[in-house]
């Protein structure tokens, strides 16, 4: 399925040159990115070094302390348990959002009437911060994972649903006509043309959803559960382990970065074919 199949002969050399150029461009990007991250740490360090009195409380959040706590935490098992749980919640929330958002998005995209009927309602629901449902979710679903799954799914479903619907509306009429000319059944039109035809849009929605999920997850985990990265933040605070708190903040940032990179890679792996 890869695009790398390069015709043999003279074009091979040219394509090789392109690959080198691409690699060079990418490593430039990586170098600049690393410089930016280093600058971020430098600002962090300088803000604490020059912005707070020696021996003050804020000094506990300094980068050096955070990194050494991070190494310590990484060698134990606690941090990993919290990470695994948080990632599991993300996976469940995203999975439910895809299971609901894609079919509903397909239906909304295919039917003008349904689209007109649902658009105001969806736009309204979408603009309600998922966190404001938290008390209701806890009352309705009790404490534990259930309200978290509900809130995460609720937060993640909109970008997927709306992007899927947009994807259906953007489908090329010629593809549908082609399928029809091949005497395709309705199911074949759906599974062989519509679903692959909207996959790029769905992946865009998934990427947006992952960003939202990760941001909503941490405050969600601060209520009524006893594990996960959000809980761990509160736990370090309560233990007055401030360098650990800073380390967990770092972990949250790094994991979010990796999740977004994974979503972007999935999108890129699909789209160069288009």
């Amino acid at each position: 399925m890869s695009q790398a199949a390069v015709p043999a002969g003279a074009e091979g050399a040219a394509a090789g040159g392109t690959a080198v150029r691409q690699l060079r461009a990418r490593s430039y990007g990586a170098v600049y990115g690393a410089v930016g991250l280093a600058a971020l740490v430098a600002i962090w360090w300088a803000a604490i070094e020059f912005g707070s009195a020696p021996g003050s409380f804020a000094r506990l959040f300094a980068p050096a302390a955070a990194f050494s706590s991070l190494i310590e935490l990484a060698s134990g098992s606690d941090l990993w348990t919290h990470i695994a749980l948080s990632l599991k919640r993300i996976a469940v929330g995203l999975g439910l959002a895809v299971l609901i958002g894609v079919p509903v998005g397909l239906a909304v995209g295919a039917s003008k009437a349904l689209d007109a009927a649902t658009t105001p309602a969806f736009q309204l629901l979408r603009m309600i911060s998922p966190l404001s449902w938290m008390p209701i979710a806890v009352m309705a679903l009790g404490v534990g994972d259930a309200p978290i799954y509900f809130l995460l799914t609720f937060a993640a479903v909109w970008p997927i649903l709306l992007n899927t619907a947009a994807g259906v509306r953007a489908l090329d009429r010629r593809w549908l006509l082609l399928a029809e000319s091949l005497a395709a059944t309705r199911w074949e039109v759906l599974s062989r043309v519509i679903v692959p035809g909207v996959t790029g849009h769905v992946l865009t929605g998934v990427r947006l959803s992952i960003g939202i999920l990760w941001i909503v997850l941490v405050p969600c985990e601060m209520l009524g559960v006893s594990a996960g990265l959000g809980y761990f933040i509160l736990d370090t605070r309560d233990r007055l382990a401030y360098s650990e708190l800073a380390a967990v903040v770092l972990v949250i940032g790094a994991l979010g970065f990796l999740l977004d990179a994974a979503a972007r890679a999935a999108h890129a792996a699909w789209s160069p074919k288009r």
């Binding site: 695009q3 082609l178 399928a179 000319s181 005497a183 395709a184 062989r192 043309v193 074919k273």
Partner: protein, 257 residues
């Protein structure tokens, strides 16, 4: 020209688009017999592609009937293959995947995976695209995409081929090769083919019959029988007179439009 034994037939077909003041096409009679190639000529916008969609069962005529193998055509027939004016390849599939597309659909004739692979391989070889079989649409030239769309039609071994300017994006040499391929396939399978083209020479090269559409609404304004053996490269003397006659008719049809 119409009647018994036709593989595909239009009887009194009119096409009128909603909102349009007049029909595009009116009372059209046209039949294609097995083993026959009919070329349809006509100026741009006369309704050739519309006619092709109606003959393919993709669009209902506003009046009249379309018959495939003697029976009314209610929906696209699995034995009728259409090559659209635009190749319409699916961008998420490789060329190979595009050629195979539809072969395994439920309403198509039952074939094993091995049979399907053999058909796809043969069709790709016939249009000369073996080297490109794993490429995606984005990496194909216009002519390659057009040949892939042709291969997609041929792979199904259809009884009727409806081709809408299938060689428009091809160079002289490739075009001649594809015309020869069409002749071969039609002869081998006794398929019926309707070839829409704007190229009089192409029509004279491959067709058993040349049909000219003209007027508003469009009707058949001329039919020429081309009773010459293939290949016709050497038959310049015979085709020359026909060519002038058809071109003259085409010009006056355009003026009348």
């Amino acid at each position: 020209m119409s009647g018994a034994g036709a593989a595909l037939e239009a009887r009194g077909v009119s096409i009128r688009y909603p909102g349009a003041p007049a029909p595009v096409l009116a009372d059209l009679e046209l039949a294609v017999a097995p083993g026959e190639i009919v070329a349809v000529l006509g100026q741009s916008g006369v309704g050739k592609s519309s006619l092709l969609r109606v003959l393919g069962g993709l669009q209902k005529p506003s009046s009249g009937r379309v018959l495939a193998g003697g029976a009314d055509l209610a929906a696209p027939h699995p034995r009728v293959a259409v090559a659209f004016q635009d190749p319409a390849l699916l961008p998420w599939l490789t060329l190979e995947g595009n050629v195979a597309f539809g072969l395994d659909f439920r309403r198509q004739p039952k074939r094993s995976a091995a049979e399907r692979r053999a058909l796809v391989d043969a069709a790709i070889a016939e249009v000369g695209l073996e080297a490109a079989r794993r490429l995606h649409l984005a990496a194909l030239s216009g002519g390659m995409a057009q040949r892939a769309a042709l291969a997609r039609c041929l792979a199904r071994e259809p009884d009727v081929l409806l081709l809408d300017e299938p060689f428009g994006a091809l160079d002289e040499v490739t075009r001649a090769a594809m015309q020869a391929l069409l002749l071969k396939v039609v002869a081998r399978r006794r398929a019926a083919a309707l070839l829409i083209t704007h190229d009089v020479d192409e029509a004279l090269n491959v067709a058993d019959r040349v049909v000219l559409l003209g007027g508003a609404p469009a009707r058949v304004v001329g039919v020429w029988r081309v009773d010459l053996p293939h290949p016709r490269d050497g038959a310049i003397a015979e085709t020359g007179a026909l060519r002038i006659e058809i071109l003259t008719a085409l010009r006056s049809a355009v003026r009348r439009h």
